[in-house]
């Protein structure tokens, strides 16, 4: 067989269309071109976006410090800071003219709003409005694009612009969902009553998410008092009803029970469920009938909700209804819920029935039964000691098998024995009863005492606080068993392992006694109300139980200490009595060393008011001693008590000598250096001062003013006066002393002395008030002397004054006149006064006084700012002038009232009024003001036609900027016209000459 050569013949059924290669090239180029264009476009836009964002970022960096300045300007800022603040405001005002800057500023503030809180955040909100950025947000509200409107609402909400409330509420029923939702949140956020308005007016669905957001808003509102939401349960908008129900539940407003019951009948299942949830929450039991009524026509979810509510608020009377549901209801979930509800109302009334197997199906394997029986038998044998383990095991095995339960039983005899034992032991209280509960006492081959001790040894003590309200039960010695009831106060004991007790053989009493002390006892303090510790011990001693004979009562030391409240007091008294016998000297005393301080009156500092570390006590010593005695006494005492080292090291605290503003206070005498009482030398000085003038014991002296020596003596007297006791001082009579008047007036010319005169006294008399005595015996006091303050001439001061006047005369000009006048007022020397007057006269000759006064007016910081400002900024500055300005600004404002711009004139006038009022200068310059008012009234009237009321003068940003721009335009036009007029005017030669002086003045004024 030959295999034919298979060849494939390509019959091209589909052939590529013949396309012109040029076309292909063209298409390729076209697509490549499009791709390039696309990438260029992407690149371009990307770059544009990134450059824009970079620009924004850079601008943010520039503006954020300014914002910080605004946010943290403190009220107590210095004037420089305020001035800087004003400049910053002007700067930012200029920046705000640019939309881009406004946008950036808005972004900055919105960003910061998220990051900062507290006072800074409130300032931020205020700043947002001050800068007028909220106007941009308002403008967005009128946009046709939903996203712009939404953004505007968001901005206004975030920056808490309360004024926007009215505008935003219009959007509550907007057909565009995003705007509507934003408006809803804004309405609720901006005002407390916003939630009311929203619930009243909304017509649209409130989504679950929106409800959550709204709830979050009102939940976080400060001082929000929720309205009674039951008012909206009657709303036609079912979502409002639903939301109201949820709010009622959230705010626990349980005053709408009737409405809730009615709403159970609502056709809307969601409302039904919410109403039922409220009913369950508020336990509205009167709704049970309604719940039962509507149950059969509800959906499964509502049925379950109803059953859940019935379970919580229902009673056993409702079980019948629930059983009915169990029988009639087809839905498994509802049936289960009904049964569950029954069990909630009446627990365990419905037991599980399905899938429960018969008990016969459960058998215990034989080997396990036998093992258990054997174990029980052994245990029983240990108890009885005679039992046949095998027999017992067999019996028990049979019984186990018959009962199918692994329960140990005893033989009949044993059972009877145990039954009897139990009967007997039941009669015994507490420990005895506890012991006999399982084990017959007669079978136990140990004595009762030993058993008790053994038990005590084996037991674990659980302590409790036991309060004995009654006396312990008396021990009845006649009874066979010992009575332990009187140990009621003992902690309750629990047996740990009973079997071990039997494993141990008889214990000798000695070892038992020892072991008693090893028992770990956790005890608490036990208080008795009637019986003291001692009395209980007495009772125990008198009524010892048999087993207690073998050990001393003190061996019960492990027992908790019983403290009696009454006896405690008695004990304390007895202890105090016992302490009386102790040697007082043996009492340990903790003490602090107290340094004696020189008595002083802290309010009146004198040269003696130094805080010394040693006791000088001058007041006591000087009262009754003569000066030498004082000296001697003081010295002796001083050196007796302190050695030289002590004195050298004496620590002196200097205090500034201050006095009350009593013109006549003695303390006005300046003590240049503190009186350092640090050694003998100072002591002697002090005593010298003391003895310097013994005649000056009078309280009032009559002095001629110009006597130098006498003045010096007064000063000495006053210094010495401090150290004198009051006894001597009180002897001073009230008369005035007129001492000799020896010195010539010329001799006193260069002794400048100034006095504070008492108006009640003659000119040449200086009153020293009578000493009011000491405040107490331990204090030195300053006598209430009314001595005028004497200011002695300072040679250096004179020299400097002379030099100053020389300099002024040589180099000064008319500008120094105010200073010279000031000097003249304060100058005391006639010589200098004459000189100053001469200099003033000299300067007056050179210049016109009025002109000089004008030029020498205090410089206002606002003048500089005004030179570089436009009209708008000037208006802003004028507000600021009122806020921070003072007298210096008055003249500046007066000048401004003559300004070319009518609005500046008007504003300046207003500012001037306000500043004058502020400075209390309303009454001043009334004529000037009237003239100024007349001057500008015409311009003001013209201005008022287009003017809007200005806001708070302190708030420079309350201006209407749009209006300002118009004004600017007007002003610019006016300026242009003025300039044209000027140019025409200046064009003539005569005009130029006329304006030449003005030009010079302008140059001088900068």
């Amino acid at each position: 067989m030959s295999i034919p050569n298979l060849t494939y013949k390509n019959n091209l059924l589909i052939s590529a269309p013949k396309i012109d290669t040029d076309l292909l090239w063209d298409l390729s180029i076209l697509f490549i071109g499009l791709a390039v264009l696309y990438f260029i476009g992407v690149f371009f836009y990307r770059n544009r976006i990134s450059s824009a964002s970079k620009k924004v970022r850079d601008r943010k960096r520039e503006l954020s410090p300014m914002i910080s300045e605004f946010l943290f300007l403190e009220e107590d800022a210095t004037k420089d800071e305020k001035s800087n603040y004003v400049s910053l405001k002007i700067e930012i005002r200029q920046l705000l003219k640019d939309d881009f800057n406004r946008k950036v500023l808005s972004e900055i503030l919105l960003d910061l709003r998220r990051d900062i809180s507290g006072e800074a955040q409130q300032t931020l909100f205020k700043l947002y409005q001050d800068l007028g950025l909220h106007k941009d947000a308002f403008a967005k509200l009128s946009s046709w694009r939903w996203q712009v409107i939404s953004k505007g609402i968001l901005e206004l909400t975030q920056m808490e612009v309360a004024e926007s409330y009215g505008f935003i509420t219009k959007f509550i029923n907007d057909k565009r969902g995003t705007i509507r939702k934003q408006a809803e949140i804004a309405t609720v956020t901006l005002r407390h009553e916003g939630i009311n308005y929203f619930l009243d007016t909304t017509k649209y669905k409130i989504s679950e998410w929106q409800q959550l957001k709204l709830l979050d808003v009102i939940r976080n509102k400060e001082d929000f008092q929720p309205p009674r939401f039951k008012a909206w349960l009657t709303s036609n908008n079912k979502y409002v009803v639903l939301f109201a129900l949820r709010l009622i539940k959230y705010y626990n407003q349980n005053d709408a029970n009737t409405s809730l019951i009615e709403l159970v009948k609502h056709k809307n299942n969601q409302i039904k469920e919410e109403a039922i949830a409220c009913i369950k929450e508020f336990n509205v039991t009167e709704s049970l009938d309604t719940l039962k009524l509507v149950f059969w026509n509800c959906s499964v979810d509502v049925k379950i909700a109803i059953l859940d509510a019935i379970a919580h608020i229902g009673s056993e009377a409702d079980i019948e209804f629930l059983n009915l549901i169990d029988k009639k209801e087809l839905n498994f979930s509802v049936k289960s819920k009904a049964l569950s509800s029954i069990n909630i109302i009446s627990p365990e009334s419905i037991m599980p029935s399905k899938g429960i197997q018969d008990e016969s199906k459960y058998k215990i394997p034989n080997d396990i039964t036998e093992a258990i029986a054997k174990m029980h038998a052994e245990k029983h044998a240990e108890i009885t000691g005679e039992r046949d383990v095998e027999h017992f095991a067999e019996e028990t095995t049979e019984e186990h098998a018959s009962h199918n339960m692994a329960d140990m039983t005893l033989t009949k005899e044993e059972f009877n024995d145990i039954g009897e034992m139990e009967k007997e032991e039941e009669k015994k209280p507490d420990v005895g009863a506890y012991l006999s509960d399982t084990y017959p006492i007669e079978d136990i081959n140990i004595s009762a005492e030993k058993e008790a001790l053994k038990l005590i040894h084996e037991i674990e003590v659980i302590s409790e606080e036991v309060i004995l309200d009654e006396e312990p039960t008396q021990y009845n010695s006649e009874e066979d068993s010992w009575e332990i009831a009187h140990l009621d106060f003992l902690p309750i004991v629990v047996e740990e392992e009973r079997t071990e007790m039997f494993q141990e053989a008889e214990l000798d009493s000695a070892s038992l006694s020892e072991k008693l002390f090893d028992i770990p006892v956790v005890y608490k303090e036990i208080k008795t109300s009637k019986k003291s510790k001692l009395s209980i011990e007495d009772d125990l001693g008198k009524q010892k139980a048999p087993f207690l004979d073998e050990f001393d009562i003190s061996e019960l030391a492990f027992l908790p200490i019983v403290v009696d409240s009454v006896s405690t007091v008695e004990d304390a008294q007895s202890e105090r009595l016992a302490d009386k016998g102790r040697d007082v000297l043996e009492i340990m005393v903790e003490y602090d060393e107290v340094l004696f301080e020189l008595p002083e009156n802290p309010e009146q500092k004198t040269i003696f008011n130094q805080d010394l570390e040693f006791d000088l006590e001058p007041s006591h010593e000087f009262k009754s001693l003569t000066i030498p005695e004082v000296y001697e006494t003081t010295e002796n005492r001083f050196y007796d008590r302190y050695n030289n080292d002590d004195i050298r090291n004496a620590f002196v605290i200097y205090e500034e000598v201050t006095h009350e503003k009593d013109e006549h206070a003695l303390g006005d005498i300046e003590v240049i250096e503190p009186f350092v009482f640090s050694g003998k030398l100072e002591t002697e000085n002090y005593l010298e001062m003391q003895t310097r003038d013994e005649e000056a014991k009078e309280n009032e002296v009559e002095l001629p003013i110009e006597n130098e020596q006498f003045l010096q003596r007064i000063v000495d007297d006053l210094i010495a006066f401090d150290s004198k006791p009051p006894a001597e001082n009180t002897q001073i009579d009230d008369s005035y002393i007129n001492p000799d008047w020896d010195l010539d007036e010329d001799q006193l010319e260069f002794i400048p002395v100034s006095f504070e005169k008492d108006e009640e006294l003659p000119n040449n008399y200086i009153k020293i008030e009578k000493n009011q005595g000491y405040r107490n015996d331990d204090e030195l006091d300053i006598p209430k002397a009314s001595i005028p303050k004497a200011i002695f001439g300072d040679i250096e001061f004179e020299a400097s004054t002379r030099q100053l006047l020389n300099d002024l005369e040589e180099m000064g000009d008319q500008r120094e006149i105010p200073f010279l006048k000031e000097l003249l007022v304060h100058e005391k020397y006639d010589m200098f006064k004459k000189r100053i007057n001469t200099i003033i006269d000299t300067f007056n000759h050179t210049q016109d006084t009025e002109k000089i006064d004008n030029e020498l007016q205090p410089f206002s910081v606002f003048q500089d700012l005004f030179r570089t400002c436009d009209v708008e900024a000037k208006l802003i500055l004028l507000n600021e002038v009122v806020a921070v300005g003072d007298e210096k600004e008055l003249r500046f404002l007066e000048e401004l009232t003559k300004d070319d711009s009518p609005e500046i004139r008007k504003k300046a006038l207003e500012a001037l009024k306000e500043l004058r009022y502020k400075l209390g200068r309303n009454e001043e310059n009334s004529n000037t003001q009237a003239s100024i008012e007349n001057e500008v009234s015409q311009a003001v009237e013209q201005f008022e036609q287009v003017d809007e009321p200005y806001g708070n003068p302190n708030d420079i940003f309350d201006l209407n900027f749009d209006l300002s721009e118009d004004l600017d335009a007007d002003t610019d036009e006016k300026k242009k016209t003025d300039e044209e007029q000027k140019s025409v005017h200046y064009g003539s030669f005569f005009g130029q000459i006329c304006t030449f002086s003005n030009k010079i003045l302008e140059k001088l004024n900068g």
Binding site: P65, I67, S68, F72, L112, R114, I116, S117, A120, Q121
Partner: protein
């Protein structure tokens, strides 16, 4: 009196600028870093008297910063962290690492100042 040195590490430039201004006004010598790398570099050169750091920072988070200061530099300089609300887990971890105090955003600048003063008083 010499101003206390304070390192402020906050990646949000606006907030950083604001806090920087407030702290400077409060009398501190503030060094500002807007990323973790700068912070680390700064700390290798000098240890400030107190550090305020945001937890979420680029390159070197606040947690890493705390770990670095406490375990590598072995410094007990007080650290206050600033965290966003709902970031409690991070805050707890930060306390484990040895941070001294924390503030949650939004931050009250005045409160921050008080906390800084308190921490410095403790030291």
């Amino acid at each position: 009196m010499q101003k206390k040195k304070l390192l402020l590490a906050e990646d949000d430039e606006l907030l950083a600028s604001l806090l920087n201004f407030r702290l400077q006004k409060g009398g501190y010598d503030v060094s500002l870093s807007i990323n973790g790398r700068d912070v680390k570099e700064y700390l290798t050169q000098t240890i400030p008297d107190i550090i305020i750091s945001d937890i979420m920072m680029p390159y070197f988070s606040g947690m890493e910063l705390i770990d670095y200061v406490r375990n590598e530099l072995k410094s007990n300089v007080p650290i206050i962290i600033i965290s966003s609300a709902g970031n409690e887990e991070n805050v707890l971890n930060a306390f484990d690492l040895g941070v001294n105090d924390f503030l949650s955003k939004p931050v009250s600048p005045s409160e921050l100042l008080v906390r800084v003063e308190r921490q410095l008083r403790k030291t």
